[in-house]
């Protein structure tokens, strides 16, 4: 365990991120890149992009609140150090997705009202379940909720969005690529750090599994809201059709919103089950009645 925790140094984070894959980026993408004209000139597409980006800002604000709150709940300094780097990662994500809101034409004075207008209520409830554990300084539940459930969801959602944006919107795809790289570390910490703690605290399992079930319920409701009747749910407009937008063996350009929702939910839930089993928890299916 001590050897494992020694990996979480600020020095390694500096070499991998600011001096590594983020070097020379501007708000997460290459200098000079901009949103495609097809998005900026079409009001429906621009609003769809703003709506999607709103969910990213809301989700990352929750991740920032959770990771910073968990610093003081962590039982050892290596975990505190890692969570300090994760806090900066999440703050960066909030900043780059907020910058995308501005790039899409949202005025700075209108940011909060735009977020309130478009934020999915189920995503807010998803975050509230997690932040309740963080506020109670429950480190084990907080890390499972943040680094396994929230980050596991974000990891898959970002990969799907990156695949959809890769050809038609390199700026957004590059922004997502750096974020995905960050998420790899976060899910790695979640699994590696929590596996042993669950074994040492088996009495925590029912409470954590209930939290996972509640978060999963609101996550699936968010997906259903996002895809239902939305012709552009992953911010990859029709112009991307014909391009290479394959993800998990499915062509996103030709898939219906219902097919995309089923693909995303199926992939995320499959990952949840596997990740939770590895750390000694049993996936709890939410009642969607």
């Amino acid at each position: 365990m001590a050897e494992f925790l020694s990996q979480y140094s600020i020095q390694r984070w500096l070499e991998a991120c600011p001096q590594g894959y983020l070097e020379d980026t501007v708000y997460g993408h290459e200098a000079g890149e901009s949103e495609p004209e097809t998005v900026m000139m079409d009001e429906a597409q621009r609003e769809a992009a703003i709506r999607t980006t709103t969910q990213l800002v809301v989700g990352e604000r929750a991740a920032l609140a959770a990771s910073s709150g968990l610093v003081n709940a962590a039982p050892d300094y290596a975990s505190k150090q890692f969570l300090a780097t994760q806090t900066l990662d999440e703050a960066r994500h909030v900043e780059i997705f907020t910058q995308r809101m501005y790039d899409l034409g949202v005025k700075k004075d209108d940011l909060e009202s735009t977020l309130s207008q478009f934020a999915n209520p189920n995503l807010i409830k998803f975050a509230e379940v997690l932040l309740e554990k963080v506020e109670a300084k429950d480190f084990i539940a907080g890390v499972v909720g943040q680094n396994i459930v929230l980050e596991g969801m974000a990891f898959t959602v970002f990969e799907m969005m990156e695949a959809g944006a890769r050809d038609y919107n390199p700026k957004f795809a590059h922004t997502l690529q750096g974020t995905i790289a960050d998420e790899r570390r976060h899910v790695g910490f979640g699994e590696n750090r929590i596996g042993s703690l669950i074994k040492e605290n088996p009495e925590k399992r029912p409470e954590i599994e209930k939290m996972q079930r509640d978060m999963t319920y609101f996550m699936l409701a968010t997906f259903a809201d996002s895809f239902s009747g939305n012709p552009d749910p992953i911010d990859a407009p029709a112009e991307a059709e014909g391009a290479s937008v394959e993800w998990q063996g499915v062509n996103l350009a030709t898939a219906t919103p219902e097919e995309m929702e089923a693909l995303l939910a199926g992939t995320v839930l499959g990952e949840f089950k596997t990740r939770l089993a590895r750390i000694g928890l049993e996936y709890q299916s939410p009642s969607m009645g």
Binding site: Q7, E15, G20, A181, R184, R185, F189, G195, G249, R278
Partner: protein, 101 residues
Amino acid sequence: MTQDPGADSAGASGSSDGRRRYELEDVGFREVPKRWRKFYRHWGGPTDELAPNEMLCPVCKVIVRSVREFREGDRLYCMPCMTRMVVVSDGNGGLIAQVVF
């Protein structure tokens, strides 16, 4: 730390173990410092066929590459998510990486 994330192989000693060896090149994986980039590549999804010297990290879905083919019992390390793994049989004649906590 060993430079090859898959070099910490049980029973392996240079090329005298009969394993096929590979020349690795940087294939554009920028998420680790430069000197380690050739040991990783992005996963292309379920249709991505892995070479005998490649293992999929089950935690972060990055492919870890070694200079020699993997065998059961080999230990490997995924730098992007900082996870240690061991190579095990998948029960169908293949090999997979299993996380070691």
